[in-house]
Symmetry: C2
Subunit: 343 residues, 2 copies
Amino acid sequence: MTPPPTYYPKDNQKKHPWRLMAPQAGGGVVGIGIDIGGTNTKIVALNKTGKVLKEYRFKTLPALGYPNFLKRISQVVNLWKNILPGDNFAVGVGVAGDINSADGIIRFCPNLEKWSNIKLAADIRKKTRLKCFIENDANIAAWGAYVLYLKKKYKNGIAVTLGTGIGGGLIINGKIYNGSGGSAGELGHTNIYPGGRKCHCRMRGCLEAYTGSYAIINRAKEEIKNIPAFIKQYGLPKVKKIDTISLARAAAKGNPIALKIWRDTGTYLALALSDMVLVFNPEYIVFMGGVSNASKYFLPAIKTAFAGQKIKAPFKKVKLIVSKNPDLGCYGAAFYALEKNRQ
Amino acid sequence: MTPPPTYYPKDNQKKHPWRLMAPQAGGGVVGIGIDIGGTNTKIVALNKTGKVLKEYRFKTLPALGYPNFLKRISQVVNLWKNILPGDNFAVGVGVAGDINSADGIIRFCPNLEKWSNIKLAADIRKKTRLKCFIENDANIAAWGAYVLYLKKKYKNGIAVTLGTGIGGGLIINGKIYNGSGGSAGELGHTNIYPGGRKCHCRMRGCLEAYTGSYAIINRAKEEIKNIPAFIKQYGLPKVKKIDTISLARAAAKGNPIALKIWRDTGTYLALALSDMVLVFNPEYIVFMGGVSNASKYFLPAIKTAFAGQKIKAPFKKVKLIVSKNPDLGCYGAAFYALEKNRQ
């Protein structure tokens, strides 16, 4: 990320050299993508060829309330609208939560102080006079990966976001598939063990209850005997708790318990994903999100499980891809704005 | 089904009164649908309004070989082409097996004497000079149900065929979704219990290993103590084995073991289907196939399981529908021909 640009109040902008930049050739269309997370919000502006024109990141601070957040995000968008070369801007937003994409409404957002029934698209439109399109963050990240890496070769695929929770996004016939009520892709809560481990969602046996980062760490705590020694040996400096980073570092050093935990993670993921391959027959599965940095240690178990399936054809077809790009959320949102703006 | 029409050799057809029928207004387009099963083949001709013009059924007799079958089916199609009013015929075929729909090829058909790599669409085209489109039978039945009952209200749904095996067909954005290699919808082999009951496919824990009719019967045999008495009390006359019909009749009479077996069947189906609802967010799930005649006894358990889910929205949205129409296969194939012919 580039450092945040200095903020100039609107009536001072004439003095700012950015205003003097000549519009670039072909730079007429600009997609502004916003990725709203519980902690950070990232925002990026791309031209239609995908070139990054601006990037910015700030604390979401949901506790200050939605009106405050709306004001801050609109200020950045309005600034960029004024300083960037372009005459056709559109805004795309990815939000972690239950989103009604068709009406541009955040229905419910557990990580954003339970903001609910927020007309985000209409509000941004009002404040910036730009078209605005919103989507679930997992779908948006799926779209980001699709446009950046996959679009040239594939039409149907699944994106799996591996983080605290497990997200899923479907691309079908080259478009985001968000289902009949906008809630498709809830891969994290598909059942892998009836009656199994308890999940954050209060059901038992969900994929997330085995492979969300909190679940991986819980499994590690059960299996590692001397936890302080483990942290001392494999943890990053100053980190006092086991995390997926120390588990990956331990696996890299050949620690057998860490290797087993990652192998099991792959086996659990394969239980859910093999069902998806059988039903969807996708061309690819792309893994993203922080935990996918440890793909080296869990991917072989997924490949083994897929190779052991008896209905061979769809498992031979599917490509397993890992993206370690941490900005797929805001890139995806910008691509989504460009795509929707074209329609 | 109407009785089979008498067959008139081609050069005698002028004498037949059907030839003298004036073409009906709006009857220019005719879809001929063929449903090839391991035992019977059904064929139907529909006009573009869905009116049945002809129906016919004959033994598939796959042991006589594919050329023999091709000859017989082409004779019926050619006869109808000559006697039915219409100037734009197209043929649609549903086949139980691994189908390459794009190229019109039967890749492998376990129930049809292992016919493999058969260019069915091209062969029918050669013999009848009509366009021919083929698809997997579960997808075709899904399409039949969609056009007959669901098209006016819905765009995304899942069809579940309950028979010896469990089939699945997906309708996405108002079209059959057959995946990247044509094998989407393999719902029967999604895993509901890791390491569970052995399935025909040689994996363990597949949905089909719990809810295919053979599996239901196996579970019944384990639970019913006096099987001959059970058959005597609930079986159809002359039937010597437990089947899903006697189990449904026993449930209708309040037999607690039969009621439990159907309830469990619903619970098992719900384990796989709730994952599908979470990932697909469909508008409907339609049940079809012989075993769906017992829906009264297994559907309540599915509804209970759906109501107990913690992510409520997609489960509130989805409608559960049962079709007891045994001819969705050939109707669907005819509708498919009409649809493809339009494109």
